[in-house]
């Protein structure tokens, strides 16, 4: 019961505390406006390149932008505790670590879904796209799974925040890596084999492919393999992130380096 409380209440309070600077004047341009223009930008580059349809770029980018909340949110969640000197206070408690960190991930997953939903809606209105209404529930589920896997990856980056100084550099870098390797704007089979191989172990790749198939009329059952793979990748990164968080926590205690910036 205490773990459930830490998961929900702790996660909520941590989000409120660490993201108290998120006023709508910051949130709308950064988390909604920028990603919407990303969708439009690549749709127009796609038109110029004569590559695929607007739907290809809308689905690819609208799913991909759910990573912004997951990657930056989790990097900031853990890095923020360190920055505000509250990390030691948290880690000295006997709280269940799984509930502690997963609770902090939940609001970021939800944020990713919101960003993606707004991207889909605005992109649908502004671009030449016709999505069947029957595809929406399937795509929504895929976005939730993709947001989870991205947040898990963000937690992994955040775990390195217990040791490294500039994890935001890597968080920013990973956004570009996702754009290139995960088939967001370039069909995966048009990339060199080594890039395809990297893309296969990253979040988003399978989710985007599944969302595109659903948008083209496939049922959720038809893409279940892709969705499960995306979820599996998310669980793998979540487990790796949790292991590293525990490892760095133990090491941080031993070396008294939690507050060292």
């Amino acid at each position: 019961m205490n773990g459930v409380r830490i998961f929900f209440i702790g996660g909520y309070l941590a989000y409120r505390a660490l993201f108290n600077w998120i006023h709508w004047t910051m949130y709308v341009p950064t988390m909604l406006g920028g990603p919407i223009f990303q969708i439009l930008f690549f749709a127009y580059v796609g038109r110029y390149a004569g590559l695929q349809s607007d739907e290809f770029f809308l689905v690819g980018n609208a799913v991909a932008i759910c990573s912004l909340g997951g990657i930056f949110g989790m990097a900031m969640t853990i890095g923020g505790e360190r920055w505000t000197q509250t990390l030691s206070s948290i880690l000295v408690t006997p709280a269940n670590r799984l509930a502690l960190f997963l609770g902090r991930a939940l609001p970021n997953i939800a944020n990713g879904v919101i960003v993606s939903a707004v991207g889909f809606t605005v992109g649908y209105v502004l671009l030449d796209v016709s999505l069947p209404a029957s595809a929406i529930p399937g795509i929504a589920l895929i976005v939730v799974v993709a947001s989870f896997s991205c947040t898990a990856f963000g937690t992994l980056i955040g775990a390195f925040g217990l040791r490294g100084r500039d994890i935001f550099f890597f968080a920013n870098l990973m956004i570009f890596v996702f754009l290139l390797f995960c088939g967001v704007n370039v069909p995966v089979d048009a990339l060199p084999t080594w890039m395809q191989d990297i893309g296969k172990v990253l979040p988003l790749t399978h989710g985007i492919e599944a969302a595109r198939e659903v948008a083209d009329g496939a049922s959720l059952g038809d893409v279940s393999d892709l969705v499960l793979t995306e979820a599996g990748i998310g669980f793998f990164y979540a487990a790796l992130a949790y292991s590293l968080l525990r490892l760095f926590e133990v090491d941080g205690r031993r070396r008294a380096s939690f507050e060292t910036m």
Binding site: M26, T30, G34, F37
Partner: protein, 257 residues
């Protein structure tokens, strides 16, 4: 005159060094343009525009310059505030305009890394031949683009600071300016109402000058447009920066916002 030149040179040099040590700016100026150039290259190759590598490299390089100016100049005064150096910047005998100008030019100048990285990337990975049609004009166009974007940065530095969340404006304006200035597309694809916006933005003419110089064409008009726009930005920036200074001094809010 010597004093003004010395001030400009050392302020520019200091800010260049300062930005070069920032991981964020190195990411924006060197790494992200390479990613965008690669994405554009594969998009063009997979689509109906193979052989557009130089087009993509130059466009992605200019994207890097814009990002540097947007974040570097847009947040310039705010960063001085956070670092506690704004009072010194304003308190020194030279006018604020003379101190800020070389800093904004520096934010555009590290965009040289962007152009260099995307061209070297194309040459090293994809055998992009670097035999430009008009090499001298290419250098002239590059300098004109950097100066005009730096002067646009002067306007941004003095106007963004009047907004409470200037950072969010920077986050917002990266993609739309890439789009509306035609860095990776032809402007003819965009709706007609965007054309005046494109024409008053230096990156539009900067990239046109670079492409005309590198790929064949007449870069003269685009370079001239960069210089004219630069002069307009200079005049606007002079007044907006003066307005900010007077307002901050009168209300005693220099370090507050």
């Amino acid at each position: 005159m010597t004093h003004a030149f010395r001030l400009f040179w050392f302020s520019w040099l200091f800010n260049m060094k300062n930005l070069t040590t920032s991981g964020f700016f190195i990411l924006n100026a060197t790494i992200s343009p390479v990613f965008f150039a690669t994405i554009a290259h594969y998009m063009f190759e997979s689509g109906s525009r193979p052989g557009s590598l130089l087009f993509a490299s130059l466009g992605a390089g200019m994207m890097g310059i814009w990002s540097s100016v947007l974040f570097g100049s847009g947040g310039l005064i705010q960063w001085q505030r956070w670092q506690g150096t704004l009072e010194y910047v304003i308190g020194v005998p030279p006018r604020l305009f003379q101190v800020v100008l070389p800093m904004t030019i520096a934010t555009a100048s590290i965009g040289l890394y962007s152009i260099a990285s995307t061209l070297l990337w194309g040459w090293a990975i994809f055998d992009l031949p670097l035999d430009f049609a008009h090499p001298v004009w290419f250098v002239v166009a590059l300098v004109a683009a950097i100066v005009s974007l730096g002067l646009l940065g002067l306007v941004m530095s003095s106007t963004f600071v009047l907004m409470r969340n200037a950072n969010s404006l920077s986050n917002l304006l990266e993609y739309p300016i890439w789009l509306v200035t035609g860095l990776l597309i032809s402007l003819s694809l965009l709706p007609g109402w965007t054309r005046p916006i494109s024409y008053i933005l230096a990156p539009t003419w900067g990239i046109k000058g670079l492409r005309d110089a590198a790929m064949g064409g007449n870069p003269g008009p685009a370079v001239a447009a960069c210089l004219v726009l630069g002069l307009v930005y200079l005049v606007i920036g002079h007044f907006t920066l003066g307005y900010f200074e007077v307002r901050a001094r009168r209300s005693a809010t220099l370090a507050l916002r």
